[in-house]
């Protein structure tokens, strides 16, 4: 089976490529990038005016299955991923029960295979039952296909245990992904601590809650010679800590979310619970620091922290509503509108942060259109203007603060493993029955 992507602007950081040319996919692999003369019999997709890039990877999502299938399933979440332009997602293990060891990982992979949509790279629990007490069977989890380990949703509070996780995972070649937070310092906080929390009378979560934990995790990564990935970095000083760790040669990477580079805690002012997430929306100063870090290459990845919650649970008092917002279907649009449009990232850098780097951090392959690589490709229209309408989300949940936002830039076609799952903005097939 051959597919020819004709005449698009091919952007591939892995080969320093940004040029108008053809891409030929054959038998689930990239065959040719350039002039594709031998394309007889290929299905042709006209890519004129579109960006053709290695499939986007969202390295931080919550798919809620098992346990909260009313909020999201692996199928609905991976369909939302495709709709948002992603060919793969890394799923966090804080489900009910948590994804742990080989059994948990096999469950996720089987469900993802059944769905036949975006690839799923399972992240397995670091500690047994996410309780932060004993090391989980992370070796078995990685052998079964886990791409990383994390207790995301909460930190591994015990420093000795975090050290062991960072040491032990060295032989497995996967990162420990840290939700870096000092839980006692966060306390019962529900938003960023500062003038706005004072104004609203809501309990605050200080920047330092994140920074203390990031500093500790970096120290432990040094001690353990481990691979640390900081999830959802949100403060200026957290990014400075990561940058200085990199300059020391430590194996530390970090991601930022679209909501943290787009919104500040000013957005909380109407008590809308779709502004409640962890880490919380920070100050203008932090937002500027995030954008600056993105510009200077200090950030490794953009990830959505897609966290579906039911309408009932979000439709409550601010104190009571759960933390988290969905992001799979707005992530690319926000990155293009807020970073590319505003000249913070070039398209090459944007694709690097949303594809090439996540693939490298997780060691999953992909993230490249070099011949021989998996035929995972995203085609997006950087000029397409659209309005965020949560009622049209493929995700089962609608908890976004971006409802009604005008964005510029949207995924048009998505190809996973050579199979066209979305074409010209239309999802193809149901229940994995794709051609």
């Amino acid at each position: 089976m051959k597919t020819l992507l004709k005449g698009g602007r091919v952007v591939d950081p892995s080969q320093d490529l940004d040029a108008v040319c053809d891409v030929l996919l054959e038998d689930g692999r990239v065959a040719v990038v350039g002039a594709a003369a031998q394309a007889g019999g290929a299905e042709v997709i006209d890519a004129k005016g579109l960006v053709v890039c290695p499939g986007l990877i969202d390295m931080h999502v919550h798919l809620r299955e098992p346990g909260r299938e009313d909020e999201e399933t692996i199928e609905s979440g991976t369909r939302a991923a495709v709709a948002g332009g992603f060919t793969a997602v890394a799923s966090m293990p804080n489900t009910e029960p948590p994804i742990e060891g080989d059994e948990g990982v096999k469950f996720v992979l089987a469900k993802a295979h059944e769905a036949g949509l975006a690839r799923v790279y399972p992240i397995a629990a670091v500690t047994q039952g996410l309780k932060g007490e004993l090391l989980a069977e992370i070796g078995s989890a990685v052998r079964a296909g886990a791409a990383g380990v994390s207790d995301d949703g909460k930190p591994v509070e015990n420093s000795a245990l975090m050290r062991r996780a960072l040491e032990y995972s060295r032989m497995l070649g996967v990162p420990v992904i840290s939700h870096s937070e000092d839980a006692a310092l966060s306390g019962k906080g529900v938003m960023n601590e500062g003038p706005v929390s004072t104004l609203l009378g809501l309990k605050g979560i200080p920047d330092e809650s994140e920074e203390i934990a990031v500093a500790r995790d970096i120290a432990l990564a040094r001690l353990a010679s481990g691979r640390l990935h900081i999830a959802h970095a949100s403060t200026a000083r957290a990014l400075e800590l990561v940058l200085s760790a990199k300059q020391l040669g430590l194996k530390v990477t970090c991601e930022v979310t679209p909501h943290h580079f787009t919104l500040t805690d000013e957005a909380v002012k109407e008590y809308g619970t779709n502004t409640k997430m962890k880490p919380p929306l920070r100050s203008e100063r932090d937002l500027c620091a995030l954008r600056n870090a993105l510009r200077t290459g200090a950030v490794d990845a953009i990830a959505s922290d897609h966290a579906p919650h039911s309408a009932e649970e979000k439709d409550q008092e601010y104190d009571v509503a759960p933390f988290g917002i969905v992001g799979l279907e707005t992530s690319l649009g926000l990155a293009l509108t807020e970073l590319y449009r505003k000249r913070i990232l070039s398209l090459v850098d944007l694709v690097r942060l949303m594809s090439t780097n996540p693939a490298a951090i997780l060691g999953t392959g992909g993230g490249s259109l070099k011949p021989g690589k998996p035929a995972d490709v995203t085609l997006f229209d950087p000029e397409k203007e659209w309005t965020v309408d949560p009622s049209r989300f493929y995700s089962k949940s609608r908890n976004t603060p971006f409802s009604g936002w005008q964005l510029k830039g949207k995924a048009v076609s998505v190809i996973v493993d050579g199979r066209v799952l979305m074409r010209d903005g239309e999802m193809i097939g149901e229940q994995g029955e794709t051609s």
Binding site: G194, P195, T198, L199, G201, Y271, Q316, E317, D319, V320
Partner: protein
């Protein structure tokens, strides 16, 4: 002037003119409570529900009496008897009340923003009777009214609010109210109980009561809750009283005609000693008295009162 608001959620978003209009309207309600028959028919046939998710004696009683003196039918629901203990959401509880055709909902809730949330889902007027650490607008209005009666002016007045500012909705509402009317506000307490960015609300910050006291025209004390001890906000009540308790001795530093306020309930011997609480400078009971008039005015205005402030009563 007609009061255009459908809810009273806080003083932050009220204009100086709106606050002054409420205070003017309240003037005409004071006298009603001094009559032998303390009742006017302004809200006859209307139903007001007092939905309290936190314990309250003073505020709830004040609202209830205000409603009764306006001839409204009142229902009190306290958290212990409400359906929320059965797992019902706040929205469902409020929607059920609304389905019984209530005319005004008065709500107190421990979650900041809860009255705003209810106002967004209900059609009837909502009065915030205190939400979390956010606002307590009728308390600030009665404090303003008390000072208006006592001193007759706000411009250039200096107000000191002393105590637990961090957890205080009374402090926040009073900062908005007093600064909008032209007074200067300084908050004072240990740094652990002063929230970050207090200056952005328009108040100055002091940690030294003795240095602050001589400059004040009005001293407002806040209740120190003993549960803050276990959260390490300060080491002991004894030390708190030593640093921030207002005693007769300490009051010698103050202006002779200083006005001393306290929203109650008092911790005698902690933030205030009895000689000050019961002394000539104290207006603590006037605050309570005027609370009724102010709440009558608010209910009357939100309940659709169309008379002007001058002839309201």
């Amino acid at each position: 002037m007609k009061f255009e608001r459908t809810d009273l959620l806080g003083l932050e978003d009220l204009s100086r003119q709106e606050i002054e209009f409420i205070l003017t309207t309240a003037e005409s309600f004071v006298e009603i409570s001094e009559r032998p028959i303390k009742k006017v028919p302004m809200m006859r046939g209307m139903t007001v529900v007092n939905l309290f998710f936190e314990p309250s004696t003073r505020t709830r009683t004040s609202f209830e009496l205000a409603e009764k003196r306006l001839s409204a039918d009142t229902v009190n629901i306290s958290a212990s008897t409400s359906a929320t203990v059965k797992g019902e959401t706040l929205k469902d509880t409020a929607k059920n009340l609304e389905a019984m055709s209530i005319d005004v909902l008065v709500v107190r809730h421990s979650a900041s923003g809860a009255p705003h949330y209810l106002a967004s889902v209900l059609g009837c007027p909502v009065v915030n009777a205190g939400d979390g650490a956010h606002e307590h607008p009728t308390q600030a209005l009665l404090d303003l009214f008390t000072i208006k009666r006592r001193l007759g002016r706000f411009d250039g007045l200096k107000l000191g609010i002393v105590g637990d500012i961090l957890h205080s909705r009374v402090a926040r509402s009073n900062i908005w109210g007093f600064t909008k009317l032209g007074a200067k506000v300084t908050v004072c307490g240990p740094p652990t109980l002063i929230p970050p960015g207090t200056e952005t609300l328009g108040a100055e910050v002091s940690y030294d009561l003795d240095a602050l006291l001589p400059s004040l025209d009005v001293l407002m004390l806040l209740r120190i809750q003993t549960e803050r001890l276990s959260q390490c906000f300060f080491p002991s009540l004894r030390e708190y009283a030593d640093f921030f308790g207002v005693t007769g001795e300490r009051m010698k530093r103050a202006k002779k005609d200083i006005v001393v306020m306290h929203p109650g309930p008092l911790n005698r011997g902690v933030e205030i000693t009895p000689d000050v609480a019961d002394g000539p400078q104290s207006v603590i009971l006037e605050q309570v008295k005027y609370g009724l008039a102010v709440r009558m005015a608010v209910l009357y205005l939100l309940g659709g009162g169309e008379l002007t402030g001058e002839n309201a009563a």
